[in-house]
């Protein structure tokens, strides 16, 4: 059981690392939202699953309640993360940020 929890934890932390590096490396605001919106959600879900599994191992009623709360946090973030991403990208569009293109045309 401990090995499973450790493997899941490492997997989630890998996703978090990819998200953080992606946020730094991508060239502009719009493409930075891709790792920020997806990899963080995936990392949080996997890590929360690992922690809920670890909490449940000596099974008791309080442990069940705590694991349910942890899963509820994961579900909440899973629902709200696309909404937050959409709010940020909508703010960017309304503020008039231009998307980065690979070859910059001389005229639009």
């Amino acid at each position: 059981m401990n090995i499973t929890v450790t493997l899941l934890l490492i997997c989630g932390l890998l996703f978090f690392t990819g998200g953080a590096i992606g946020i730094i490396r991508f060239p502009d605001f719009y493409s930075r939202l891709h790792p920020a919106g997806k990899l963080d959600t995936a990392g949080l879900t996997i890590t929360m699953g690992a922690i809920a599994l670890y909490t449940l191992t000596p099974f008791s009623f309080e442990a069940l309640i705590t694991a349910l709360k942890i899963i509820l946090i994961a579900v909440f973030v899973f629902i709200t993360s696309p909404t937050a991403t959409h709010a940020i990208i909508d703010a960017g569009v309304r503020a008039g940020l231009k998307p980065w293109r690979k070859e910059i045309d001389p005229d639009k």
């Binding site: 590096i21 919106g37 709360k69 696309p82 998307p99």
Partner: protein
């Protein structure tokens, strides 16, 4: 803010006639029992999970507060009356979730590969594409937009009221199959 507006407009629905946001049939939907009971049950479940105490004092506190909240805002959670068609629709939506989870896994691996690739700048070609969708309902469009955000390489930028979607793609081939399979699946879920 939305909740305050809805509550006040519910209180004096007959006199003030708010700005055509509420259903335009005053007096017909005064108090609906089905959404009230369903909201109360959901609230009670959340109370029991979050409090974690089972003595009479905490349970009665939860009962009173769930009653107040579900009386005030049951029309927020279920804006239309409960029909059997809606419940069947939700059941079909549950069947849609595993496919969505698989797509999310693909999306994560794709973005992970992109962000750790040493020559990332040559792989990506960000662009915004615009296409028309044939989905009509609000919930169907919202589900479609959120699903686009969660699938590989695409983020919904804007949705107009006439069903025109603007989508930001990370490279050309991720925007290629866009209105296809997913729109068909959502149309099947919401019967359009």
């Amino acid at each position: 803010m939305a909740s305050i507006e809805t509550i006040t407009s519910d209180d004096n629905q007959n006199r003030l006639a708010p700005k055509s946001q509420m259903p335009t049939k005053p007096g017909q939907k005064r108090f609906a029992a089905g959404p009230f009971i369903l909201t109360f049950l959901i609230m009670a479940c959340f109370w029991v999970i979050f409090s974690g105490k089972f003595d009479a004092f905490h349970l009665s506190l939860g009962f009173v507060s769930c009653l107040i909240v579900s009386f005030l805002s049951s029309d927020l959670l279920f804006p239309t009356a409960l029909k059997p068609a809606l419940i069947i629709c939700w059941l079909r939506f549950v069947g849609y979730i595993p496919w969505l989870l698989y797509q999310i896994l693909l999306a994560n691996i794709h973005v992970f590969y992109l962000s750790l690739h040493p020559r990332m700048m040559e792989l990506i070609d960000p662009q915004i594409i615009v296409f028309e969708s044939r989905l009509k309902g609000d919930i169907a469009r919202t589900t479609f937009a959120n699903s686009i955000t969660l699938t590989p390489g695409t983020i919904t930028v804007n949705v107009t009221t006439r069903g025109k979607f603007a989508v930001h793609c990370i490279n050309k081939q991720s925007g290629q199959p866009l209105p296809g399979v997913m729109e068909a699946k959502i149309a099947k879920v919401f019967k359009e």
